[in-house]
């Protein structure tokens, strides 16, 4: 018993020290809150806030399907449970009507709610911490002009222990530090503007960045690609020439893609179509150009070694060819060459040969339209074949397009397809 006492004491001290450290790390860069509400926004601030809300695509998570804009309720599936977007209309009871600009700034910069609770990082404050106070104030000014909607927030349904403040505190101590966007004097003003938008409000790496087992991205420059929780689309790496790197694209093509959803080099489908539809199509050409310049400059990962011919199980190519002839050839052409201006080529298409093959499978199962934008108001559609083709046929045709016409990618199994259903 006598020996246990010092041991117990030391453990207690260590524990207390750890708690103090976590608490201190959580309170970094937090000046005392100015509770006075003397915020008098100008019309220019409101207009800029509306623009910035688009740049941050706030509406996507803070609005449920068919619901009042910004009144919350959209379910966001995460590996740790479901998070529900909150009501950020100026309703005093259920929204942020009782907040001051300082509260809003603390939420954006430090990830804490009005009452001091730690916010779940599904709200990407790991990115938004880079947003300037001016821009945060403009956003707040805009949100205050929205119609107040009384709609109580739905409680997140996270599993234990992820639903506790203690777990969030530890997570934040490990993976979050408030920051400012430091301009790189070696780069142009345009590049720095792009960097600010891509890494900050744009929160591109929320999807395009890989995440570790704790759901944390490893820094806002990390663009190594990640499987999106939305229907298991794969958000390809923006730094990998074999995935979605735009280093060898013309700047204008990147701008086109973000502005219209289509470009000479590729088009947006799935979650990226939503991003273009709700967010990037509304941004100014100057900002899109800045983002393009920055994205083109991302450090590139090594290109993958060229693959040799792919070996297929007997009959797979024949089965895939038969399905392709029946369902795909009419639009994508007998040689997978696509139809100019309408349907993408499959030969040499990175999305087709990418690993993981999630997007090729998802496109066959769900089809989809490019977003309807001012620059492409009447998009062409791809049918969903999930009702028509079984797992084996889907696997055969995806394998077929991944291995024909010079495409050299790994075959897809029926199990891969089953997982995506």
């Amino acid at each position: 018993m006598k020996r246990a006492l010092p041991w117990l004491a030391w453990t207690t001290v260590a524990l207390l020290a750890a708690i103090a450290l976590v608490a201190a790390l959580n309170l970094r860069d937090e000046p005392p809150l100015d509770e006075r509400d003397g915020f008098q926004p100008t019309p220019e601030q409101v207009a800029r806030g509306a623009y910035l809300a688009r740049a941050g695509n706030c509406i996507a998570c803070h609005t449920m399907r068919g619901g009042a804009p910004y009144a919350g309720g959209r379910a966001i599936e995460t590996p740790f449970g479901t998070v529900f977007g909150s009501n950020i209309t100026p309703d005093v009871k259920t929204g942020i009507g009782g907040w001051t600009a300082a509260h809003f700034w603390r939420a954006m910069h430090n990830g804490r709610s009005k009452d001091g609770r730690l916010l779940v990082p599904a709200f990407p404050y790991t990115n938004f911490t880079l947003v300037t106070r001016d821009d945060a104030d403009a956003l707040f000014a805009y949100l205050r002009t929205l119609p107040a909607v009384e709609q109580p927030n739905r409680a997140h349904t996270l599993r234990f222990p992820y639903d506790t403040q203690a777990a969030l505190a530890v997570w934040r101590a490990l993976f979050f530090a408030p920051g400012v966007h430091a301009a790189d004097p070696a780069q142009s003003a345009e590049w720095n503007r792009g960097s600010y938008l891509v890494r900050g409000l744009g929160h591109c790496n929320a999807c395009h960045g890989g995440r570790n087992v704790f759901g944390a991205t490893s820094g806002s420059l990390e663009m190594s690609g990640g499987v999106s929780p939305i229907d298991q689309w794969y958000a390809p790496s923006l730094a990998n020439p074999a995935e979605a790197s735009v280093a060898d694209w013309e700047t204008q093509h990147v701008v086109d893609l973000l502005k219209t959803g289509v470009s000479a080099r590729g088009s947006a489908l799935g979650p990226m179509a939503e991003v273009v539809f709700r967010s990037t199509q509304h941004l100014s050409d100057a900002d899109l150009r800045a983002m393009a310049v920055f994205l083109k400059s991302l450090p590139q990962s090594a290109p993958p070694a060229p693959r040799g011919p792919v070996s297929l199980a007997h009959g797979t190519a024949e089965r895939g060819r038969a399905v392709y002839r029946e369902h795909c050839e009419g639009c994508h052409g007998p040689q997978g060459e696509g139809a100019r201006g309408a349907y993408p080529a499959l030969a040499g298409n990175r999305s087709v040969v990418m690993d993981p093959p999630a997007n090729a499978i998802r496109a066959v199962l769900s089809g989809g339209f490019q977003p309807a934008t001012a620059g492409n108001p009447r998009p062409w559609g791809m049918p969903p074949f999930g009702h028509v083709l079984d797992d084996a046929d889907t696997a055969a045709v995806v394998t077929f397009i991944r291995t024909q016409w010079g495409n050299r990618a790994a075959p897809v199994s029926a199990t891969d397809v089953q997982r995506m259903r």
Binding site: A273, G315, C331, Q370, P379, W380, G381, W405
Partner: protein, 319 residues
């Protein structure tokens, strides 16, 4: 037409490896005709990689296919020297043209599709059929000839969460009102014949109950007849009341059930929700199978306008 990639020996080895990987039996590879052969044998006329080109050619010409139990099941294409010579002569001109002048891009983008709204709506065909004429068997509803206002309302309802269908909601999620209206008008304008109704095996009593509900309603349940809104001929009315004939019974059952459980909603006041909630499950079934058993009159069209006043207030019937 001389191939220039690698040595002949390396070429043979590559082909042998490729054939082995694909489970086909390769024989001696005497010589290759490269480009010319591939062009007129129906092979891809354009390959960015000449090696793959030659591989394809050689595989097809020199490899026998192996069946699942290892037996050789036959030579797919083995042309005699004479046939080969004839074909070569016949197509030499075009092959030379391909090889000599045209850039690769001109050949790869030869495929073209018509720029029509029907072509843009290929996304709808696997479920709703060619020209939106899904048949009355199965589950999926026909679109052709429905009033444009009704189709537009449904597209918007799917987009905005008043109707549930993962595939539909996903497809229309990023489409604008203008485009949805154009899509609705496209399908509304299609005038394609209806097939005869499928034979029904339903009991006479059920069909009779369905007919009573559809044509006379039920006074005790405060149910108007379907015909009061959907038209005497049940072919609907412009701008937004759909016809009820030519639909699969299961689809009608599904929709009335969805209204009962509020999984399908329309702009308030939601008259069909009011009606569906007064229908028992047996009545839902009866009216659905009776409707599905009715032939669609030749040249059936929605009436230019509904017979006013409607028996119920309807949020979307007149828009």
């Amino acid at each position: 037409m001389k191939r220039t990639v690698g040595s002949r020996r390396a070429h043979r080895e590559a082909i042998a490896t490729d054939c082995r990987d694909r489970g086909v039996n390769c024989r001696r590879i005497p010589r290759d005709f490269g480009h010319v052969f591939a062009v007129h044998s129906g092979f891809p006329p354009v390959h960015r990689d000449q090696t793959h080109f030659a591989l394809d050619f050689a595989r097809e010409r020199d490899c026998k296919r192996r069946g699942p139990f290892g037996s050789i099941v036959g030579v797919k294409t083995r042309h005699s020297a004479v046939r080969l010579l004839v074909r070569t002569v016949l197509t030499a001109g075009s092959a030379a043209a391909l090889a000599a002048g045209l850039p690769a891009s001109a050949q790869t983008t030869a495929h073209a599709v018509p720029d029509t709204i029907a072509q843009r709506m290929q996304a709808c065909t696997p479920c709703h059929g060619r020209e939106g004429r899904a048949s009355p068997v199965g589950y999926l509803p026909r679109l052709a000839g429905k009033p444009a206002g009704y189709l537009f309302n449904q597209l918007v309802n799917f987009r905005d969460g008043r109707r549930y269908g993962a595939a539909m909601s996903y497809l229309v999620e990023q489409l604008s009102d203008d485009y949805l209206r154009e899509i609705a008008e496209h399908f509304a304008a299609l005038d394609v014949p209806y097939p005869p109704p499928p034979a029904t095996t339903e009991r006479e009593g059920v069909l009779r109950r369905g007919e009573v509900l559809a044509t006379r309603g039920d006074f005790d349940l405060r149910l108007p007849a379907c015909t009061q809104c959907h038209g005497y001929a049940l072919t609907g009315a412009q701008p937004a009341i759909p016809g009820l004939l030519g639909l699969p019974a299961d689809y009608v059952i599904g929709q009335l059930g969805a209204w009962k459980t509020e999984n399908r909603r329309a702009t308030a006041p939601d008259c069909m929700a009011f009606i569906a909630k007064r229908l028992s499950s047996e009545d839902v079934r009866a009216v659905a199978v009776w409707l599905a058993s009715r032939p669609v009159p030749r040249g059936a069209k929605p009436a230019p306008s509904p017979d006013l006043p409607l028996p119920l207030e309807c949020g979307s019937g007149l828009r």
